[in-house]
Symmetry: C2
Subunit: 248 residues, 2 copies
């Protein structure tokens, strides 16, 4: 049985808490949040508190708050030799300021509160100062997911950056596609099978091998025709990405 205390109650903390509560061999001992109101509904299931001085003892303290609050909250956990982890992709293990042991428990996925999360397929990127602690994080992660990776802070920073490209910027490519469709009364849903196929293709081909389109085949006629159809902003993006694909 691994005992955990969750600190914070944003999107990720919400999903983690609810999954942990349902999982055998995990004991959610307590949830902390600076506003007690947001966690009051949990009081029949676990201890709740809005005071960091009232923290119980547990195997792992999981800080899941916004990146810029991690330093502050961790510095206020003054239990002796406790094991504190954060769940942030962009934050170094060294930003934890507790006196005890430190680690990272980072699930690489984007979370929204109103959508069920199945952690089973979500990769957990784990880091700890000590082997024993890393083993504990592995055990914990394996209780809710089948994908665990040992990733250090430098790698995690790069991974988080990669995620901006494959998630945020990719979504923006969809946005431009949607804008064009709207302008010409074309239902965006026509593009959904292509979007899905493009995403699934890189499960068996590298993105380099999967690259198709006018840029990679140097189809200057199509490129010229496309550029004529775009607004200024889209034009800049099309041109830069085309050039970059061709240089690539």
């Amino acid at each position: 049985m691994i005992s955990v205390i969750i600190l914070g109650y944003g999107n990720l903390a919400y999903h983690l808490t609810n999954t942990f509560l349902k999982t055998k061999n995990i004991n959610v001992k307590q949830v902390y949040n600076r506003s007690i109101k947001k966690i009051e509904h949990l009081k029949n299931k676990t201890l709740i508190t809005d005071n960091l001085k009232n923290l119980e003892k547990a195997d792992v303290y999981i800080i899941s708050v916004s990146d810029n609050a991690i330093k502050n909250i961790s510095s206020k956990i003054d239990l002796k030799n406790c094991f504190v982890v954060h769940t942030s992709g962009a934050t170094s293990i060294n930003d934890l300021k507790n006196n005890g042991r430190k680690g990272v428990f980072y699930p690489l996925q984007s979370f929204s509160k109103n959508k069920e999360v199945n952690f089973n397929e979500i990769p957990f990127c784990l880091e700890a100062q000590y082997n024993e602690d890393l083993e504990l994080l592995k055990q914990l992660a394996l209780l809710i997911s089948k994908k665990i990776y040992s990733i250090n802070s430098e790698q995690r920073k790069q991974l988080h950056l990669s995620a901006v490209f494959v998630n945020n910027f990719t979504n923006y490519m969809y946005k431009i596609g949607d804008d064009i469709c709207n302008k010409y009364n074309i239902p965006f849903e026509i593009l959904l099978p292509l979007i899905k196929e493009t995403a699934l293709k890189v499960e068996y081909l590298s993105p380099k091998e999967a690259q198709t389109g006018p840029a990679i085949r140097n189809d200057e006629i199509t490129i010229k025709n496309h550029l004529k159809l775009l607004n200024e902003e889209q034009h800049k993006i099309y041109k830069l990405l085309t050039k970059s694909i061709q240089n690539g």
Copy 2:
């Protein structure tokens, strides 16, 4: 029973021919290709020819060749009042130069020869000069797919352009993510669930609603940190897309 003749034997023609041959109520009367060798294996299943003067009679002639060959091939079909369609996203219906009726039979998906295609989920964008011909194309498409759309040449041009963003440029975002991962010995597979989730999210949220990340939340600290990590090419792309998301 709808009789068809396929002209060309590239990726799409290959998959169409093979699916049509297996489909009830479709009669593949003939396949034309300028190199007879490439289609010789079909000779037990249908008529084959490398001579446009030997075309049989059929309800629809489907030209599925590279965009720049459509004009030339269509101009050489000199059967009286035949119905000729092409399968190209980027080509106007007016680029067909046959004497008879014209149309478009465009499945919006990317095809590679060595991967099985299930047309069932692939949207068919249909266009014809006459209502009766459009109805025939609808009937034909519905025999192999459940998704059909009536799309005119102007819309199709825009749709093809959108596809460059959601498919080719999206894949390039994956490529940059992969490049970053490789540089730091991070397995790219960690990003696959996020890539999939990003693609599936726009099935129930518009891309505008689905946009997350440092750009949209104006997280200038993270943006600055990210820019420091990128090479010149990636830096330009990150900066332009971030600015564009923020203007959006």
